[in-house]
């Protein structure tokens, strides 16, 4: 019998980045394969290729033994590949039954056979042990239940291969346990499951095999029996690319930023940052290491005025900063390279020139009172494009025309331009080509050498190790250790990141 999914040597290049580099993997019936990797590791590209949405430069993808045709998404779905998206595709005002049968309704004459639909859903939910109330309205249901409806929707179409994209990102711990149980049952009934995640304990709990992607490459295949969480963490953050950065000894000054007992909620209103204390000194780079989803994002957002603080305080040069908005925090002296550059960092339909002054547009020299000084903006743009080596035919092209690395250079250039006392860089090299990574790293070090207090949050352990003077390891919403980078040991940090105490 041929494998459900067979990916052989798939390579996909985008300008400046290899999104998938010679990736091969198979998924068989009745097995749970975890696809593990940070954002930007190439998971999305691979999935798009499986669905025929992206044409690989080379390699082949077979489903049930037959190769897929690029562009034939419907054919892929018809062959029994189902996907549950991270963001649900449900109609909130319709019932569970209506949502599941949508698009393929049992009919009696011209009308929907509601009785048959109802019974079908009950039978389906019984068969897979996924309990739902067929008559409940979606918007009244908790998120975990909505996800169950999504899974049922996929299962009804006689799915042989079910892909779950970060299914636990929106769930509470109890709901996560239930979901893992459901995944196990599905596998028992013969469905092949691909679980996309970066949460290690879920992988350990449910996967038969683990495939680890990093920087577009398949770095290894293992299983929970052969590996442990620390091993997986190490594979994920890898050591394939050795980034060499020339940096001198830090000339550490006084404390600039102090975080005391900070507690922050995440989007689900769960406590994500559970009491963090940190001190940031001028003239140093403090790296915050950790597997994604352990509170780093919430920590940065709370410091930078993008998220409310539940408890604790943030002191800038001894002065408490309040729950401010991001711009007020910037004015107070904290510059910030946001994690999501497309959402917060750039207005992509604006020119590079306008993006370079986005948070200074109403300040001198870029405006004189009410009127914007377009020549000052243009001069600044031309200078910055040259200085930061932003690869573009013109500083007045739109930001959307740039590659990921050059977009990020625009954001970094803007945040460094005012030489504020604190710089917080969140995932500054994610999805960025190697050349731009090096450039951005050197800029961070240059900012440090000019006396800035730099906090670098990254999921890439190599990046943390090569840039940081001190390393704080974050796990489970807490800083579990702060080390001098001279004493930093990769294995030890890997274990700390996985939440293991020695």
């Amino acid at each position: 019998m041929s494998a459900l999914l067979e990916v052989t040597g798939v390579t996909k290049r985008y300008p400046g980045v290899v999104a998938n580099d010679n990736i091969s993997l198979t998924v068989n019936a009745g097995e749970v394969v975890a696809l593990l990797g940070e954002n930007g590791a190439g998971k999305s590209t691979l999935l798009k290729a499986v669905f025929g949405l992206v044409k690989p430069d080379s390699g082949e993808i077979k489903i049930g033994g037959t190769p897929i045709v690029f562009g034939d998404t419907a054919g892929v779905i018809a062959r029994g590949v189902g996907m549950v998206h991270q963001h649900f595709q449900l109609v909130p005002v319709m019932t569970v039954t209506e949502n599941i049968i949508l698009g393929d309704e049992p009919k009696r004459g011209l009308f929907i056979n509601k009785k048959a639909a109802h019974d079908e859903i009950l039978a389906l939910s019984k068969r897979y042990g996924l309990e739902v109330d067929p008559d409940a309205v979606i918007e009244d249901l908790p998120v975990g239940m909505q996800q169950r409806v999504e899974i049922l929707k996929a299962l009804r179409k006689d799915v042989k291969l079910l892909i779950l994209d970060e299914p636990t990102a929106v769930l509470t711990p109890q709901e996560i346990d239930e979901l893992l149980e459901v995944i196990r049952n599905l596998a028992k009934s013969g469905v092949g499951v691909v679980l996309i995640t970066h949460k290690l304990h879920e992988v350990m709990a449910v996967a038969d095999r683990v495939v680890v992607l990093r920087g577009g490459k398949l770095v290894g295949t293992t299983s929970p029996k052969e590996s442990d969480e620390a091993g997986l963490a190490q594979m994920m953050v890898g050591r394939s690319v050795v980034l060499q950065v020339n940096r001198t000894e830090a000339k550490r000054g006084g404390v600039v930023l102090e975080v005391k007992g900070l507690q922050v909620l995440d989007d689900r209103k769960l406590l994500m940052v559970k009491g963090v204390d940190l001190s940031l000194y001028s003239g140093e780079i403090l790296g915050v290491a950790g597997v994604e989803g352990n509170g780093q994002r919430e920590l940065v957002e709370a410091i930078c005025g993008m998220r409310n603080r539940e408890a604790g305080e943030v002191l800038l040069k001894g002065e408490p900063t309040k729950n401010l908005n991001p711009h007020a925090v910037h004015e107070a002296g904290i510059s910030h390279v946001p994690e999501d550059r497309e959402k917060h960092g750039l207005i992509s339909s604006y020119s590079i020139a306008d993006n370079l002054i986005l948070n200074q547009f109403d300040q001198s020299p870029f405006s004189k009172g009410w009127i914007r000084d377009l020549s000052a903006i243009a001069t600044n743009a031309v200078d910055t494009v040259a200085k930061f080596d932003i690869r573009t035919p013109s500083a007045f092209n739109t930001a959307s025309s740039l590659s990921g690395g050059n977009k990020q250079k625009v954001v970094v250039a803007r945040e460094l331009s005012e030489e504020l006392p604190v710089l917080i860089a969140a995932q500054p090299t994610r999805g960025v080509d190697v050349g731009s990574i090096e450039f951005i790293h050197n800029q961070l070090i240059a900012a440090r050498d000019k006396g800035a207090a730099v906090m670098l949050v990254s999921a890439e352990l190599d990046e943390i190790l090569s840039l940081s003077d001190r390393i704080a390891v974050m796990s489970g919403g807490k800083i579990v250790a702060v080390l001098d980078s001279k004493d930093a040991d990769r294995n030890y940090i890997g274990r700390l990141m996985a939440g293991l105490k020695e």
């Binding site: 998971k43 992509s348 948070n359 007045f396």
Partner: protein
């Protein structure tokens, strides 16, 4: 540096070709389809168009009439444009325009003791203020209560139409007349016409240039554009979303109200609810035809104003019903939005399949 300037020019040219192509094709395509319809009825489309455009643009009086008709269209187009720049779809231009038309009519007949220049300014100000008030209600609801502006402005249209109908048929009604309308405004508050140029049109041109300058060269314009393009990045950059949304709707409504005021003071000389009916909705067509650019809407407004001005003569000369102009407008809107719509569906189908995959 000179290479850089060349680049800027090249970029601009690229933008301009793209931006003029679709409107031009849309108008021509609409005229073509309409001529097939005329032909099918046994009418002569060439004669019809010839009559339409000679009437509209062939004489000084014709041009004056065209520009007069175009004036409120420029303003309603500007109102829609301003909203769209800030990411708002103001469908309530019609209601705001009616409010402005009635308010300026009242100021035109009830106030009688002001010098003409001041009186005209006051009457226009009434139009702006009351139109802006209606817009500000939708702006407040959107900014502070999260109610979608499309819903509120559509509902406000109905509410406003009810209110102006009542006011024009009771408290402000012309005494001893069967018709539902206000008294005529006094002679001296009428907008003067200089040769073929109605002064109201000059006002609307001035506003278009003003808006172009404000949107392109001031911090206020930068705020509007930023919120409209990416409200998250705008917030990150310190631009208040709520404030910007509120003021965008207020000014959008105000400009629409001004459109009603120039119509009252320049053409109808009184408020009559049966008039001005489509002006606000034509503004949507014109804004899209002008690629949401304050200067870009002017040719569209003049074209459509000309069609309105020439419609009656076209019936006389070629036997084509003046409703043809409504048909043309509807088809222009269809053609001009078709590329936008197809792009939207393309994006949304992509979204459905790839949504939530990061990147």
């Amino acid at each position: 540096m000179s290479a850089l300037i060349e680049d800027v020019k090249a970029t601009k040219q690229k933008y301009d070709v793209g931006s003029w192509l679709i409107p031009t094709i849309s108008v021509l395509a609409a005229m073509f389809v309409a001529s097939i319809l005329m032909f099918a009825q046994g009418l002569d489309p060439i004669l019809a168009y010839k009559s339409l455009f000679t009437t509209a643009f062939g004489s000084g009086d014709g041009i004056a009439s065209t520009l007069g008709k175009a004036t409120p269209l420029v303003l309603s187009g500007l109102a829609v444009t301003l909203g769209l720049r800030a990411g708002l779809f103001n469908i309530g231009v019609q209601g705001q325009l009616l409010t402005g038309a009635l308010a300026s009519a009242w100021a035109g007949y009830a106030i009688t003791n002001l010098p003409p220049i001041i009186h005209i300014s006051v009457a226009l100000g009434f139009g702006f203020f009351f139109g802006g008030l209606v817009g500000a209600i939708a702006g407040y609801l959107k900014a502070f209560r999260g109610v979608h502006e499309v819903i509120t402005t559509i509902m406000l249209n109905s509410i406003v139409m009810g209110i102006v109908d009542y006011l024009a048929s009771h408290p402000f009604k012309e005494p001893d007349q069967a018709l539902t309308r206000t008294p005529q405004i006094i002679e001296s508050v009428r907008l003067p016409v200089f040769g073929p140029l109605p002064s109201g049109f000059a006002v609307s041109l001035f506003l278009a240039v003003m808006m172009w300058w404000v949107l392109g060269y001031t911090t206020t314009g930068f705020r509007f554009n930023s919120v409209g393009r990416n409200k998250f990045a705008a917030w990150y950059a310190g631009i208040s979303y709520k404030r910007t949304i509120f003021f965008a709707m207020l000014f959008s409504g105000g400009i629409a109200g001004l459109g009603g005021a120039v119509e009252t003071l320049g053409i109808t000389y009184r408020f009559e609810p049966a008039f001005n009916l489509g002006l606000g909705f034509d503004g949507i067509t014109i804004a899209l035809l002008g690629r949401v650019h304050p200067i870009g809407i002017i040719p569209g407004a003049i074209l459509i104003g000309g069609m309105r001005a020439g419609a009656a003569n076209m019936q006389f000369d070629a036997g084509v019903a003046p409703e043809l102009v409504d048909l043309l407008l509807a088809m222009i809107l269809l053609f001009v939005t078709a590329p936008l719509i197809s792009r939207f569906f393309k994006n949304s189908s992509n979204r459905a399949l790839t949504g939530g995959w990061g990147n």
